[in-house]
């Protein structure tokens, strides 16, 4: 009993509750005639879709910049890459790779500016990040109307210009990762091997980075900036690098998301996209100043699992769609918990 309590304390109550809740959903699924294999399949797909976006939280948290509420900035870089790749009429892997190749420089550029800004406002990063994200999304709304994209599948038919709200990528590079080595177990369960492998590769890169000299310095900046400074590390530079990494990962993340989802969502689409990722990594056990790859993997799985299971299971049980409300309460409750928890540690 004591051991159990210690374990729960170590893992954290919210994570335990959410894990138990998810387990209950999986157990209950067959009784309300929800197919278990379909549920698992959906969970895996969403896990792969969102994984890289959650991973984009890690560098900034590790360097002490807090939770990356400014993720929409990275997403915008990814969107620019995606629509440009479509404009060039590239299909298949080439299109996907081109999208990433175009998105990365944008991500680096945005991240550099965003990082410089955050260096000027140390201590107030999270609120400012949120609004930088929001205003950049709103700014891009204007740009999507004005930028000279001409591919007829992307622009409004009547005007011949101005990008559509939703653009299909099916005929270009939809599913190139998901279907790569895709394994079909049944009509309902197929594993998106390529996408999971790609996510694994991204995790490996981030892991490797944190074992290099720069990565080590970055961790030190986040854990104890005074220590890092006394050891001759340029704190602002490390923070800027971390923000650039987070932004680039956000850009790559959204392209992975789109190839699986099949659509590019422009305009207000990226607006609230930071919140699910923030919630996921916190559910995985990260705090405002410490995040590991384990947090990313566990958090993404738990959060996406709940998002997949609640609509199907709860709806079948109650005959109503409460999934949206549960998503709002779980994700924001989690963020709230993390924010108040940190303050308590600090006040000691």
């Amino acid at each position: 009993m004591q051991k159990l309590r210690a374990l729960i304390h170590h893992v954290g109550w919210p994570r335990v509750i959410i894990a138990v809740f998810l387990l209950c959903l999986f157990v209950a699924a067959p009784f309300v005639r929800v197919r278990l294999d379909a549920s698992i399949g959906d969970t895996l797909v969403r896990f792969g879709m969102n994984g890289v976006l959650v991973l984009a939280m890690v560098p900034m948290v590790q360097s002490g910049c807090g939770l990356n509420f400014g993720l929409p900035l990275g997403i915008i870089a990814g969107l620019l890459g995606a629509v440009t790749s479509l404009e060039l009429n590239l299909t298949g892997f080439a299109g996907f790779v081109a999208a990433i190749a175009i998105a990365v420089p944008f991500g680096l550029l945005f991240g550099w500016g965003y990082g410089r800004l955050l260096n000027k406002v140390k201590g107030g990063e999270m609120m400012i990040a949120t609004y930088v994200g929001f205003s950049s999304v709103a700014f891009m709304c204007m740009m999507w109307l004005l930028l000279p994209y001409r591919n007829p599948t992307m622009v409004w038919g009547y005007a011949g210009k101005g990008l559509r709200t939703t653009i299909s990528v099916q005929e270009y590079w939809g599913g190139v990762l998901s279907d790569f080595f895709g394994i079909r177990f049944s009509d309902f369960l197929s594993v998106p091997t390529g996408m999971l492998l790609f996510f694994g590769l991204m995790c490996l890169l981030v892991w490797a980075f944190f074992h290099t000299k720069t990565g080590t310095a970055m961790t030190a900046v986040g854990t104890n900036p005074d220590f890092a400074r006394a050891s001759g590390i340029d704190i602002d530079r490390m923070r800027t690098i971390s923000v650039m990494m987070s932004t680039v990962l956000g850009a790559v993340g959204i392209i992975v998301y789109e190839q699986s989802f099949g659509f590019i969502q422009l305009y207000m689409g990226p607006f609230f996209m930071a919140f699910p990722s923030v919630a996921a990594i916190l559910i995985g056990g990260a705090s405002v100043h410490k995040a590991t790859l384990t947090n990313v993997l566990i958090g993404t799985f738990l959060f996406q699992g709940i998002l997949t299971m609640t609509p199907s299971v709860i709806n079948s049980m109650l005959q109503t769609d409460m999934s949206e409300v549960i998503r709002i309460i779980v994700s924001n409750g989690m963020i709230l918990y993390a924010l108040t928890r940190v303050a308590r540690v600090n006040s000691k």
Partner: protein, 563 residues
């Protein structure tokens, strides 16, 4: 009888003092002193900081309280004010009487209600409020209105006119001229200090005022005005406990003084015949259980390796104003002084951790101040006094802590792969390094992967030393190496520092609050007082001489050790 009492109270300086011939006579009657402390003692976790302190304070008397940092002054005041930390650590021994009644406050507010006021070293003022508003803070004059009946007392309206008048009259009582409407944020430092004192005396029934180093931030003329104000207050019957390191002020302003050392009252007397030197000697005295200063024969040093000229450092609480010194190769140079005088600022400034200016030459080449990399590149390492804040990555493993600076600054413990494209941490080399230091410094830990925060203070300090040693420094700054670690570990740490000096010829500059510690291992000791070098002495110099320098009582001409 009333006649005789009056004459006694007025006395020679209008003050009743215990040393006064008629004191006992009066005491024999009903005249109690305002404050009487009997046999007060206190130990924190078996560590005794105060033992059997007794004294009394008459109405309208000014008592000077002097002692080194850590002599027990703050603990005594914490007991008097009923600070929660005292009760949480098991209460105190002895008795305290105020006005003849035994008191034991459970929180500072009770002490304030009983008429004891305290003025701290840090200003406790609201910056955006005027002097008057601060003086009456939370005791504002108020008027009733209808809503009070519904919503309670906090909706009373303020009577700004009366607040201003009360503020002004409190300021006038001190005999200084400060505009009661002036915002604190726009005041010079001295005015802030007076505003604080005004707040304490404005409280109805303040009988006893404790001033903790009130003159430390004042200019000489401001300090003179403050001493004058103190005497005015005393003449009105308020008793004052005056804590200060400036002994001349104590002698000038007080009727009597007591000296605390290692938690004991070592001297108590009137100030009429007191002499600064005598007080200083009593203060530094001799400590128990620390090894005697030694003089080693045959210590020869090379040329001057580090020279600081007119160094200033803006480190909060440890400001260095104008410091010049030079250290020779192979030497262990000590920097001492009381807390807050600036001794800690020197190392922090040269290492670029706080804004600094002046010239610092290392091996003839200038160090760029304000840039930590400059000093590190030149081969200088630093073991910070703020072990947990600056010295360690508490949440990271021991081995990473030890290797970190060497890895970042000297590109050691790295290996390349993919044809030099990737530079990794060389975990094997880091393990090897950590094992080496764990063994040679006898660091007690499970293994090199244990997190730094799980170790004891002494072992954490050894990791900080190992981190500095690992960069193979030519010069090493060590600040407060034994602070907060137990007695056994202290000796180990000091031995380690000495051994490193002897074996590798590393020049060491050690900063410490413990005079005996400096005297036991340093070749020369500089004493810093009010941000300046008060003097440089050989370790064998007389304690009293150090004491005089600590207190800035006299400027001793610099005595160099003959080499």
């Amino acid at each position: 009888m009333a006649e005789s009492l009056k004459s006694v109270i007025i006395g020679d300086r209008g003050i009743l003092t215990p040393s006064h011939p008629s004191y006992t006579e009066v005491k024999g009657m009903t005249m109690e002193p305002l404050l009487r402390i009997e046999g007060v003692g206190k130990a924190y976790f078996g560590n005794r900081v105060l033992k059997d302190v007794s004294f009394s304070l008459a109405r309208g008397e000014i008592l000077g309280l002097v002692g080194e940092n850590g002599a027990g002054k703050s603990t005594l005041m914490n007991i008097l004010f009923g600070m929660p930390v005292i009760r949480e650590t098991g209460g105190f021994e002895g008795k305290i009487y105020l006005d003849g009644e035994e008191i034991a406050f459970s929180n500072p507010f009770e002490a304030l209600d009983a008429g004891i006021g305290m003025v701290h070293q840090e200003f406790s003022l609201i910056p955006g409020f005027s002097a008057a508003e601060n003086i009456v803070l939370n005791r504002e004059s108020m008027r009733n209105n209808l809503l009070v009946e519904v919503f309670g007392d906090r909706l009373r309206t303020l009577d700004r006119g009366d607040i201003f008048l009360r503020g002004r009259s409190a300021i006038e009582k001190l005999g200084v001229s400060i505009d009661a409407d002036m915002l604190v944020s726009e005041m010079p430092v001295g005015h802030k200090q007076f505003t604080e004192i005004a707040r304490e005396i404005e409280k109805a029934g303040t009988k006893l005022l404790v001033l903790d180093e009130p003159t430390a931030v004042l200019t000489e003329s401001e300090a003179a005005i403050l001493l004058e104000s103190m005497r005015r207050l005393a003449a009105e019957g308020i008793s004052i406990i005056f804590i200060s390191h400036r002994l001349q002020e104590v002698i000038d302003a007080c009727d009597r003084f007591i000296v605390l050392r290692d938690g004991e009252v070592v001297k108590e007397s009137g100030t009429e015949q007191a002499d600064v030197r005598e007080i200083a000697t009593a203060m530094v005295g001799r400590k128990m259980g620390v090894e005697e200063a030694r003089e080693e024969e045959g210590r020869a040093f090379g040329e001057a390796v580090l020279t600081a000229e007119q160094l200033w450092v803006d480190m909060p609480g440890e400001t260095v104003r104008d410091v010049s010194f030079s250290v020779r190769r192979g030497e262990i140079f000590g920097i001492g002084g009381l807390a807050g005088q600036g001794k800690l600022g020197i190392a922090n400034g040269i290492m670029g951790l706080f804004p600094a200016g002046g010239t610092v030459l290392f091996e003839g080449k200038p160090i760029t101040l304000d840039d930590p990399r400059s000093a590190l590149r030149a081969g200088i390492a630093f073991v910070s006094e703020d072990r947990r804040g600056v010295g360690l990555l508490l949440e990271e493993p021991i081995k990473l802590n030890i290797a970190f600076t060497a890895l970042q600054m000297q590109d050691r413990f790295l290996k390349k792969s993919l044809g030099g494209f990737l530079t990794w941490r060389d975990e094997a080399a880091i393990d090897e390094l950590a094992r080496e230091y764990i063994e040679s410094l006898a660091i007690k830990c499970v293994d090199a992967d244990q997190r730094a925060q799980e170790l004891s203070g002494g072992n954490q300090q050894k990791i900080c030393l190992a981190k500095a040693f690992a960069v193979r420094p030519k010069l090493l700054f060590v600040s407060e190496p034994t602070r907060g670690i137990d007695v056994g570990a202290k000796k180990l740490v000091l031995d380690t520092i000495r051994r490193h000096n002897r074996e590798y010829g590393t020049t060491i500059i050690m900063t410490s609050s413990e005079l005996e510690e400096l005297r036991s291992i340093c070749d020369r000791v500089a004493v810093i007082q009010e941000g300046r070098v008060a003097g440089i002495l050989p370790p064998t110099a007389d304690r009293a001489e150090f004491g005089m320098l600590f207190l800035g009582a006299s400027k001793v001409s610099e005595k160099e050790v003959a080499s």
